[in-house]
Amino acid sequence: MAQIFHRAANTLAKATLYGIVLLIAAICIIAWEVNNSYNVYLGEHQVQPVPFSHKHHVTDDGIDCRYCHTSVETSSFAGIPPTHTCMSCHSKIWVNSPMLEPVRESYLTDQSITWVRVNELPDFVYFNHSIHIAKGIGCTTCHGPIGDMPITYRANTLYMRWCINCHKHPWRYVRPKQYVFSATYKPPPDQDALGRKLVKEYHIQSPRIITDCYTCHR
């Protein structure tokens, strides 16, 4: 009887088998990485109608978050500043800057500026800003180093797994209330001890309660 396969087929067969295993592993790892960064625009600068710089306004000018995001302490929604807010300064400074043309146009034509949403959650997630502020979770905990962002980008995946991580261990992320709006706050080395103290002080509920599904989904 004649050989059906060349003798190289033996090596090929074994190499294929091991290759398949390796390939699957590689696909899993790549998928994981892509899903955690590329798919959620992690660190990706969005093209906005106006190249608004948080770095400039927050760090250089020292404007408080709440000057623009007015309802962050009172409502689920932090609030996107109306054009009027921009114009309250920019009718006086940088009045001729070509970069600000869309802002002026919006104000004159009464047409809203359409921004690209950077930190976006699905519609079935009912995130509430005010309770996080009230319980000592700082802006930068979720929004990242906003004071260093010339163009705003997403600093965290905002995946449920990521949210749950904090809800399971709030003491790792909570900060004193006076630093909630600080863009430069760095957790102290004894964060764990401080966190546990703050959790008690701010009556942050037990992880079992705040990891409950209806905390965010309704």
Binding site: N39, Y41, G79, I80, P81, Q111
Partner: protein
């Protein structure tokens, strides 16, 4: 969420939509004229299925397929390896001041219903009204609402509302209309208003009344007619018969211990039904064996919401009610002329004497109520009896009529039509109420309408009347307009808009002001200026303060009418209008439909799909007869050949898949009444009086919209002015047609105890689902509702119980003794929780979506059974059987004891529903939520996820409300107070039968109710440990009456 704010500080919806909706929005909003002529639009109008469902049934088109693929990819993308879609965010240019984005605002307003103002409180999210509640400050509401108030918000967003001004069948322009009005005004000014007529419904609005009076002054020859199909003419005429003038009767059910209803459905159809239900239930509220209850005797033809609550219910044909009233009056010693000597042959012998003794024992704390269907004589007798029993001033109070101009509307309408026929009317301005459809069959309104040269119709819809008019002006919904209306006790309620008119609709005020020659005035100025003119003593600044406070409360203080001293006429003569006893043939009875009323809510999907009390019929009306009459008819009916197309089959399927049709097909009969004929499916209703046939109004409409057109049959077509409520001489014949009726509860087992052995209703008691005792039995054995020890939740488990001893522990108590089965909770829940409407076909396939339902059970004999309503939301079992079978953990338990349903995790195995012993879970078999109709998007409650296809949903104890309050309490560093969180069903319940709260707090209302001995849980022997529990039903029968 963006727009400029208009002068009212509220949002202009059009610009929101045009920004949010790109493609669909354009088509829908910018080219209405085109749309109006397209095939698509016609198809919508003729479509049998409500929003979106039709497409799901008949397959799909390319766009749907792409959309579904897109949707599924997007959904999957949340966890799978797909890039997230980029979203835009659009801020304001100038933010309105009172807004905090993401927080709701409340505005008080009022809904005119039967002309009477029903106080409402409207939730507004970012400028869009989404939910109606009752107004606490309003005497007719006390914070509660009925189904019509709850559902009215859907009408606001109804995509079928007329959106453009129509002139001679084509899209007209407002400026042309103004020119036309100017010409008419000029012409009529010349002829003193001769030939100028206004046709309105019942008017209680002081402002509108003022406008009309002004018009009649400007045009002395003009006339104002009022007509509503359910006009309370008998009540009015009864008062005039008794007292010689039109007065309004106010009943104080909170003072009444014995109540006799003579065909009166005062808990539901009365304009003050919400308030009366509250007062009535308060007198039946039992806290322990020492509590007292009122006693209700009801004499009526077909079981109504009120009659079902009666401790003694007597089935009588409407014509016999009058005889009963006369016998009762005689027995009570009322001395009036023409009382007569007739007596009822089939009245149980102990009934009348026992009732008389009971009434006489409760002089001053009893009340006799005559229902609108009864002739004026019965009303007069009721007044006389109340006077004789010393009730006047105690349980019965008289006030001036709350109407601007109380009239006998039937006469007024008849006169208008005869004038139209004789050519005396040149200009007719119709303010709503669709008279072409609702006119009595013997008053040829439609035929004579075309003899009027200028016919102007202000209406919400393009309907039967609008097509016969030269001008159809789209009306503004009450949530879009300024106005006012009097409550049942005369209190003026203000109506303020929550949103700018979606389709540039006009209110009646704005239309009349044109004829007044003041075209520039807005609705706001009209109402504001009228009230300013009434408060001349106030400076303009002081008035503004006053005005703001009125608007805030929704009522104008001190406008309630004071009790009026009236005396019975000495010469009161109640001789029957028609001589001789009623013939013994079949009697026809017309009642307003318990869900779509007189046809004004025909195009409301929520109300169409709402199961009617008792019959649980949806999407149709029926020819209702008692079981005995059905048997008799079955023997005696002759078969006729019908002309025309008949009723059609309802819905159906091919032979190999008949669907539910065969079992739910009902025999279509032909009704002939005074020479007019109508076809309708025959439906047996236990508890109805024999030998009468009951029809509900509001169906069979030719032009109602995609929801309401061609549903059921038109009872108006055989309803005459003379026999507006009932009449004898009806003939019924068989047609050999069958028609599918769709019900959410199957009564096929009633009266057939042999097969299957245990009927639906029998087993409800066998299974202890409804627990009931008389007050006497309860006093002797307060624990009658308790489970026997071997069946309680103390069942042994190998597992340790879960620890529910910390934090809030939510629970609910439903008092079956207070529940009157009015369905308000169902609609409130539907509005609050974005529950989809699925259509008749899907309901017929057993797929309704209501999260809370009202089960009806019958006990006792078939002819006059006791009837029980049981409201069933999710039981929120602590040991929930649904949870441990879910493969993905989409339903889990919260530490606060709520059985959670997470839609976005659900993959739709439906195992949880199978394992739910209460069957309270609802499944989106198709894409039931309407994702295609832009006008419905702003209706949705933004705090509740709109469910997609293939997910389970169920009652959540309104978790969005709990969380909302919980979060703000947490921020304030305090605990929630009892009563701070109200579920939607609880908030609207007119009788406060539903109470929700923290059961761990011993002082909470719910904990106290649960501590009562009447408390029981459904199917507790399954060890489900339900958090929703019931308080057993109690009857308070008269011991002197022995009923079989």
């Amino acid at each position: 969420m963006s727009s400029k704010d208009n002068d009212n500080g509220r949002l202009d919806l059009v610009s929101i939509r045009s920004k949010l909706e790109t493609d669909a929005g354009k088509r829908f909003w910018r080219s209405l004229e085109e749309v109006a002529e397209t095939e698509e639009y016609k198809r919508f109008l003729n479509s049998e299925f409500p929003y979106g469902v039709e497409k799901s049934r008949s397959g799909m088109n390319r766009r749907d397929a792409l959309k579904l693929m897109g949707a599924s990819a997007a959904l999957a993308g949340l966890t799978a390896c797909t890039k997230m879609p980029v979203e835009k965010i659009v801020p304001y240019v100038n933010a309105p001041e009172e807004f905090v984005p993401g927080k709701p605002l409340f505005y008080a307003s009022a809904m005119p219903w039967q002309g009477v103002g029903q106080g409402v409180l409207v939730w507004s999210f970012m400028g869009r009204p989404t939910k109606i509640e009752g107004n606490n400050d309003h005497p007719g509401s006390l914070g509660r609402a009925n189904i019509f108030m709850q559902a009215s918000v859907l009408d606001l967003y109804d995509p079928d509302r007329s959106q453009v001004l129509i002139h001679e069948g084509r899209v007209g322009s407002w400026s042309d209309f103004l020119v036309q009005v100017d010409e008419l005004r000029a012409a009529h000014l010349r002829n003193q208003g001769a030939g100028l007529r206004f046709l309105t419904g019942t008017v209680t609005s002081p402002t509108l009344g003022d406008q009309l009076r002004d018009l009649l002054k400007q045009f002395p020859q003009a006339q104002w007619h009022q007509y509503e199909p359910l006009a309370r003419d008998n009540t009015r005429e009864g008062a005039r018969l008794a007292f010689g003038e039109y007065v309004e009767t106010i009943y104080k059910f909170d003072q009444a211990d014995v109540i006799v209803s003579l065909d009166a459905d005062f808990l539901f159809t009365h304009p003050a039904g919400v308030r009366y239900a509250n007062d009535f239930a308060n007198k039946r509220r039992v806290t322990g064996p020492d509590s007292k209850m009122n006693r209700l005797y009801a004499v009526e033809a077909t079981p109504t919401i009120t009659g079902v609550q009666a401790d003694h219910r007597l089935r009588l044909r409407p014509s016999q009610v009058e005889i009963f009233a006369r016998s009762l009056a005689g027995a009570l010693g009322v001395k009036v002329q023409g009382l007569g000597e007739a007596s009822l042959p089939n009245l149980p012998s102990d009934w009348l004497p026992a009732l008389v003794r009971d009434l006489q024992n409760h002089r001053g704390s009893s009340v006799i109520v005559a229902g609108e269907p009864q002739p004026p004589a019965v009303h007069a007798l009721a007044h006389a009896m109340n006077a004789a029993l010393g009730n006047v001033g105690k349980t019965v109070v008289y006030i001036d009529s709350i109407e601007i101009s109380p009239t006998n509307q039937t006469q007024s309408f008849r006169q208008l039509v005869s004038d139209m026929g004789s050519g005396k009317v040149q200009t007719l301005i119709i303010l709503g109420h669709n008279p072409v459809y609702t006119a009595p069959a013997d008053i040829p309104f439609a035929e004579n309408l075309t003899k009027v040269q200028q016919r102007i119709y202000l209406g919400l819809y393009e309907d039967e009347t609008s097509v016969l008019c030269n001008w159809h002006v789209p009306a503004a919904h009450y949530l879009e307009s300024w106005g006012d209306a009097r409550a049942y006790d005369g209190t003026v309620s203000t109506i303020q808009p929550l949103i700018a008119p979606l389709y540039d609709g006009k209110s009646a005020y704005e239309l009349l002001t044109l004829f007044q020659g003041q075209p520039g005035r807005t609705g706001h100025t009209i109402v504001h200026d009228y009230w300013q003119s009434q408060q001349k003593q106030l400076s303009p600044q002081a008035f503004e303060v006053q005005w703001e406070s009125w608007l805030e409360k929704g009522v104008i203080d001190g406008t309630a009418f004071q009790p009026k001293q009236v005396a019975l006429r000495k010469d009161l003569d109640v001789t029957p209008a028609s001589s001789g006893p009623q013939s013994s043939g079949l009697e026809i009875v017309f009642i307003p439909d318990p869900t779509i009323w007189d046809g004004s809510f025909t195009n409301n999907g929520w109300l169409q799909e709402l199961p009617k009390p008792l019959t649980k019929l949806t999407w149709d009306n029926a020819v209702m007869v008692s079981p005995a009459t059905a048997e008799r008819l079955n023997r005696e009916m002759k078969t006729v050949k019908t002309q025309g197309p008949g009723m059609g089959p309802g819905t159906g399927g091919p032979w190999y898949s008949p669907g539910p049709t065969e079992s739910s097909k009902y025999e279509v009969v032909e009704l002939s009444f005074q020479g007019r004929k109508v076809l309708g499916p025959l439906l047996v209703v236990p508890g109805q009086a024999d030998d009468c046939v009951v029809l509900t109004l509001g169906y069979g409409r030719q032009r109602a919209g995609r929801i309401g057109t061609d549903r059921g049959f038109n009872a108006y077509s055989i309803r005459t002015a003379e026999n507006a409520w009932f009449g004898s001489g009806l003939e019924v014949a068989r047609t050999n047609q069958r028609y599918e009726l769709v019900m959410t509860q199957h009564h096929f087992v009633i009266g057939q105890p042999s097969n299957p052995r245990e009927g639906e209703t029998v087993s409800a008691f066998h299974r202890d689902l409804v627990r009931v005792a008389t007050l006497e039995e309860y006093r002797q054995n307060p624990d009658f509702a308790k489970d026997s020890p071997d069946m309680t939740t103390q069942a042994q488990s190998l597992y340790p119980p879960y620890d529910y001893s910390k934090g809030y522990q939510w629970g609910m108590s439903i008092d079956l003794n207070a529940c009157i089965g009015c369905n308000a909770c169902i609609i409130a829940c539907q509005a609050e929780n974005n529950i989809a409407v699925v259509g008749k076909d899907q309901v017929g396939r057993g797929r309704p979506m209501h999260w809370i339902r009202v089960d009806t059970y019958f006990r006792g004999n078939l002819d006059n059974p006791e009837i029980y309503h049981e409201t069933v939301p999710c039981m929120q079992c602590e040991n929930a059987p649904c949870e441990y079978v879910c493969p993905v953990g989409a339903t889990v338990h919260s530490p606060e004891g709520i059985n959670e349903m997470i839609y976005n995790r659900c993959v739709g195995t439906r195992y949880c529903s199978n394992n739910c012993p209460y069957k309270v879970r609802r499944f989106n078999f198709y894409l039931f939520s309407d994702w295609n109709t832009p006008s419905l998007f702003p209706l949705r409650n933004p705090r509740v996820t709109v469910r997609s296809r293939g997910v389970m949903e169920k009652c959540t104890y309104c978790i969005q409300r709990i969380r909302y309050h919980e979060i703000y309490a947490e921020e304030e560093g305090r605990k929630l107070k009892d009563g701070e969180v109200l579920t939607a069903c609880q908030q609207t319940c007119p009788t406060q039968a539903i109470v929700f709260g923290n059961i761990r707090d011993e002082n909470s209302q719910v904990a106290k109710l649960k501590a009562q001995s009447r408390k029981y849980g459904l199917l507790e022997e399954l060890n489900t440990r339900p958090r929703t529990t019931y308080l057993a039903k109690l009857w308070n029968p008269n011991p002197e009456i022995k009923e079989s």
